[in-house]
């Protein structure tokens, strides 16, 4: 088996705060293959952005510290690189686009200055050549008026335009991996759709992998090939996009899918997962979802940290489908652990 483009292996991140440390990532495993769009999904505060920022080592440290694990990029552990050695990777081989394009562009520098910067830092080009490439890339990202825009400042652009600028800025060095951290969250729905289309097109065109982070399952499902479901700093489930909707295994994943409003069903209330993501002042001692889990099965959930593994032969899933849940470690359970539709009917009538 060839080495994946990016392999995050057992990543642990802790934030030191004044009172108690917060364990933000507790053994995260994510792999991204070449030319693959990996969706990362989970509620706010479950460690998606921390994971993304860890890859480029952009976490503010202190308070953040990476206390364990590896981030292997093309086989090399990036965590062993110094900050200046990381600069060879940042914006060059791995680029990142951020959640809020309103805040992520420097208000006092022109679009041209900001878009050409990665090129000038990593490629042997003159300023004029860089500007030409920037204009071309801005056009490719759907900004027809690129020649004028390079001399403009961010405040004169709309949110959607700014996000296109961010994307152009990320792509200008033709990186192998683009990390998109909720790139559509701050945009209105029609703009969201356009940005998603753009990301899909460019991932094909530039042969690049994307790590697409979102809390919105609907947008992720538009672009992702595979998906990693994160919960409270851990990976709950990992599978292909198709199987996510057809055979979700982890109770959290199932709850997430249920929470998507559907047009063909009338809900009294929008289904939601009760409670909120816990924060850990020490590494979790059991399943992090235990306190909210509708299928809590007892002391194992509280006492043993579930490991990601295939669910077992009872489930007809692809080999790479893994889930971290005690429902599937329990060998005695032969039936699917969730109540099937028939059972629901039986108990209701």
């Amino acid at each position: 088996m060839t080495e994946p483009l990016l392999a995050i292996d057992d990543l642990n991140v802790r934030f030191r705060t004044e009172d108690e440390p917060v364990y933000a990532l507790n053994g995260v495993d994510i792999t991204i293959e070449h030319n693959e769009v990996m969706g990362i999904i989970g509620e706010s505060g479950c460690g998606k952005s921390v994971t993304a920022l860890s890859v480029l080592q952009l976490l503010q440290s202190p308070p953040a510290e990476i206390i364990g694990g590896e981030i292997r990029y093309k086989g090399e552990n990036l965590l062993e690189r110094s900050d200046s050695e990381m600069d060879e990777i940042r914006g060059n081989e791995i680029s990142m686009i951020y959640q809020d394009p309103m805040k992520a562009l420097n208000p006092v520098l022109t679009i041209g200055q900001q878009v050409t910067e990665p090129l000038l830092a990593h490629r042997d080009v003159t300023k004029d050549e860089a500007i030409d490439e920037a204009i071309e890339m801005l056009r490719a990202c759907g900004l027809a008026d690129a020649e004028r825009l390079v001399d403009e400042y961010p405040h004169s652009l709309s949110g959607g335009m700014r996000q296109r600028v961010m994307i152009a800025m990320g792509l200008i060095t033709k990186p192998d991996l683009l990390i998109a951290d909720e790139p559509t969250t701050a945009l209105d729905v029609t703009t969201q759709a356009k940005i998603l289309d753009l990301l899909e097109d460019i991932s094909d065109e530039f042969d690049m992998s994307i790590m697409y982070i979102s809390h919105n399952l609907a947008t992720v499902s538009e672009v992702a090939d595979r998906i990693t479901v994160m919960y409270a700093g851990t990976v709950a489930e990992r599978c292909t996009m198709n199987e996510l909707f057809e055979l979700p295994l982890h109770p959290y994943t199932r709850k997430l899918i249920e929470s998507i409003p559907k047009l063909d069903t009338v809900h009294e209330r929008l289904p939601a997962i009760e409670g909120s993501v816990p924060t850990f002042n020490e590494p979790p001692s059991g399943c992090p979802f235990a306190s909210r889990c509708p299928q809590y099965i007892g002391s194992a959930c509280d006492e043993v940290v579930p490991q990601a593994q295939p669910p077992g032969e009872a489930y007809d899933v692809e080999a790479e489908h893994t889930v971290a849940c005690h429902l599937y470690t329990d060998a005695s359970s032969e039936k699917p652990p969730w109540t099937t539709e028939e059972q629901t009917h039986d108990s209701a009538y």
């Binding site: 920022l53 480029l56 952009l58 503010q60 900050d83 200046s84 990381m86 600069d87 060879e88 990777i89 940042r90 914006g91 060059n92 680029s95 990142m96 951020y98 809020d100 805040k103 992520a104 562009l105 420097n106 208000p107 006092v108 520098l109 022109t110 910067e117 990665p118 000038l120 830092a121 990593h122 400042y153 405040h155 961010m166 800025m169």
Partner: protein, 313 residues
Amino acid sequence: MLKYVIRRLLVMIPVLLGVTVLITLLINLSPGDPARAALGAQADAQAVANLRQEIGLDQPVYIRYIEWVAGVLQGDLGTSIVTGEPVNQMIMERLPATLELSIVAIAITFVIALPLGVISAVRQYTWMDTGSMVFAIFWLSMPSFWLGLILILLFSVELGITPISGRSGTIFTVEWLSYLALPAFAIGARRAGLLTRLTRSSMLEIINEEYIRTAKGKGIGGRAVIYTHAMKNAMIPIATLVGLQIPMVLSGSVIIEYVFSWPGIGRLLVDSVSRRDYPVVQGIVLVYAVIVLFANLIVDIAYTQFDPRVTYD
């Protein structure tokens, strides 16, 4: 932009009128009589009255004010009651010395404060940060006239490195610097303390902005992140402070010029106040007001250079 500058220049007229009215009232309402001051306490009452008439002091204040303003509009600030010299000439002879002192003091402020402020923000909570802040508080808590005296005592009297007072006639020479260094530092040190703290806090605010993370994520290197991305944003509040500091530097220079016998308009102002030389006092205050107004106009225009979101039409 041109429109804006013209509008600002027009606004200066009422401001300057207000300043002159205030200063005229202030000096005329304060006790003391220039004729008496000129002739001495033992002088004959008749002689004093004659002198008063001669220099026009027998006229009511508002008549004298209007006559003075009429002169100013023609570029004539009047003549000194004490020496009989034209005020224009007295100010023009001494203005370069004051400007030199003030500009060098501001330059010292920048040279000290910007690097220290940036370093203490970038290396927050390290010994460099603590050191810079101790340095800032140290100078900030020192009154400039006292600092001036201490500097003279240390460098001129004890060590004999610099002259005690006065100004060299030369410029950009070692001698020039030896005269200028102490008074300029005495004015600049306190401002530097203030500016160091402001630079630190505005840099700290900016380096936590998301666009700074974006810049880091491009792999352009730490220096480029600070100088290209953070500094230009930090200059916006710094420019504001500098605008506010210019009047402070000028008023600080009045005392320091006196302490160091610096032949500028500040010292002339103090002398003229004690001699009740009304026209000279009025003239100098007017010049100070004009300098402050223009300096602030320049700062406001400088904003457009630092912040593209600021436009004036």
